[in-house]
């Protein structure tokens, strides 16, 4: 297992999908934030985070994700998550992320619902 988080971006016609692989902690969260803010600066307003290859997220990573969500909401956009492990899904619900971001079981469903 590795400590580093890798992020891949797939630009879509109406937004983008970010694929994360690894630990969403302070460093990993910042990496996601940097990519997300670049996309927001590029007028992306619908962002889907696919966490299928992420098994761990800590509280700092969660707080960074919340900041990203708030920033996107400020810009009038929306962020959604898909393919969460049961543990991360429950974590997001308890920490309140589910109140501000939609969560989908699969990427296909998310893309369809978000119109990406």
């Amino acid at each position: 297992m590795t400590e580093e988080l890798r992020v891949a971006v797939d630009r879509k016609a109406n937004g983008a999908v970010l694929y994360t692989k690894g630990y969403i902690n302070n460093v990993g969260g910042e990496e996601i934030a940097n990519r997300a803010y670049e996309l927001m600066d590029d007028n992306v307003r619908t962002l889907l985070l696919n966490l299928r290859d992420t098994k761990i997220v800590n509280s700092i990573g969660i707080s960074i994700l919340i900041e990203i969500i708030e920033k996107m909401i400020d810009k009038g956009g929306s962020i959604a998550f898909c393919c969460l492990t049961p543990v991360i899904h429950k974590t997001f619900q308890i920490m309140g992320l589910a109140n501000y971001a939609k969560i989908f079981d699969s990427e296909d469903t998310a893309l369809k619902e978000l119109g990406l």
Binding site: N25, N26, I60, V87
Partner: protein, 543 residues
Amino acid sequence: MSPLVNQFAEFLHDLQQLERAALSSHGSLIFDAFAKYTPYDVSAVYLRDVRGLALRLAAKSDACLAPEVLEGEIESASPTLDPEPRHLIPIRTIRDHFGLVALNGDAASEEDLQMLHAAGAFAGSVLNNHRLAQEMREGDFQLKYRLWELESLYDIGLSIAGTLNIDALADEILFRMISLINARRAALFLRDGDKFRVYRSFGDTRSDFLDDEITDRVVAAGEALTFEDASECIFPGCIATVAVPIKGNNAVIGVLAAGDRETREGDVGAFEANELRLLSLFANQVAIALENARLHKEALEKQAMQRELDLAATIQRDILPKSIPTVEGIELAALARPAKQVGGDYHAFFQREGTLTTIVADVSGKSMPAALLVSAFHAAVQLLFAEGRELGDIATELNRHIHSWSAENKFITMIMITIDPEAETIQFVNAGHNPCYVLTANHMEQLRSHGLPIGILGTSKYMTQTRPFAAGSAVVLYSDGINEAENIGGDEWGNEAFEELLVRSAGNTAVGLRDAIAAAVDAFVGEAPQKDDQTLVIARSAS
């Protein structure tokens, strides 16, 4: 009238944006608002550091030479700027001071000065709201985080206690622990003899084994310990490490270690009391889960062993003769009683040109290895007899074959006899087996071993021995499960009792002799469990 008065509403509106803006942009927002709506040159904006009392430079004009930090309290701060500021407008509420704006240019009228101070107070009020909102959000986050910690501990108990696969369990343990205490690295060490070996790690560990000194300290403490002084002993490059023993029923069965706790500020630091408490609680759950997994693994191994024993028993059952052959002039009886744990007794019969050959053999070892060797022995015996070879030649070839095929410590004791009723002779080869008994009307002779057991030495050669075997004589072949049968006290039935019985029962039929021996053995053994295979083959020549 000053333009400040005309645009005061817009001025305040711009300052109000501070409430929603990020902390890092507050300085430039204030600077821009004062530059846009006042007739004065803005030299610099200083704002209080969120974590301290110091005033830090937040924005400045190109012309201003301003130090990064202003020393002293805000009330008395009189910054030495170049150019020297004509006006210092505090950004404050009645209770708190948030910073100040340094202005240059013409002297402000009394009216403008009041407006500037009012704007400063308004900005202070907005910053105060911003700070309160931040604190509320932080408080909300912490509340939810504590709830998440409790839920996690509860979930961990359920989740890992329900995971019986130790590999999946190890991953689950590491993931949960890392999340729970915001660690960057983690490792699960499990006991391996006197040491603790890395079973799973997240990130590199210094060594495959836990450092002896760390081990001693953790085991002695019995609870979570931090190692700021010797952090690198577990994770290379870590500045803080925590380790907690996993206490099983009777001993420490493992150690959980984590390195470098992340902080909200973006760096790493030491683990605090709350993390140590959580980790100790977590280690208790892990101990239960690991014990469950160990018991489950042992149960599976027992099942696998039983399946192996069943299979070995089947192999051996299938190899042994299903019935006693009918041979003219010879009465035969046999007994094969496998012990509960499959051993390696073997017997077989062959007929050739009016003669009868029988073998009794005992393979060293138990269970599947013994059953497989019996199987190989059986195949070779069948082949060699089919080739029509004589006993000594068969034994020599069997020895060469088994020696090259089997493991070094495996061997077979074997006795082969051939009875020729017409010639009234008995031929035999005894390769390290118990002597067999030849019974005549008034005499008992032992056919003793005259060679090493089969498989010991590849170059061994065996010669066929011949003795007279008068009509009415009987021969008794057996395995050591007969004469060494033990009673509940651990005493052996013994050769003496065996021979006395043979002398007493010498006139019996083959079947009668077999039954008498079996009954005597059973009577001696009583309720004691059968320890070894018991094999008897008795052949009596017709009178």
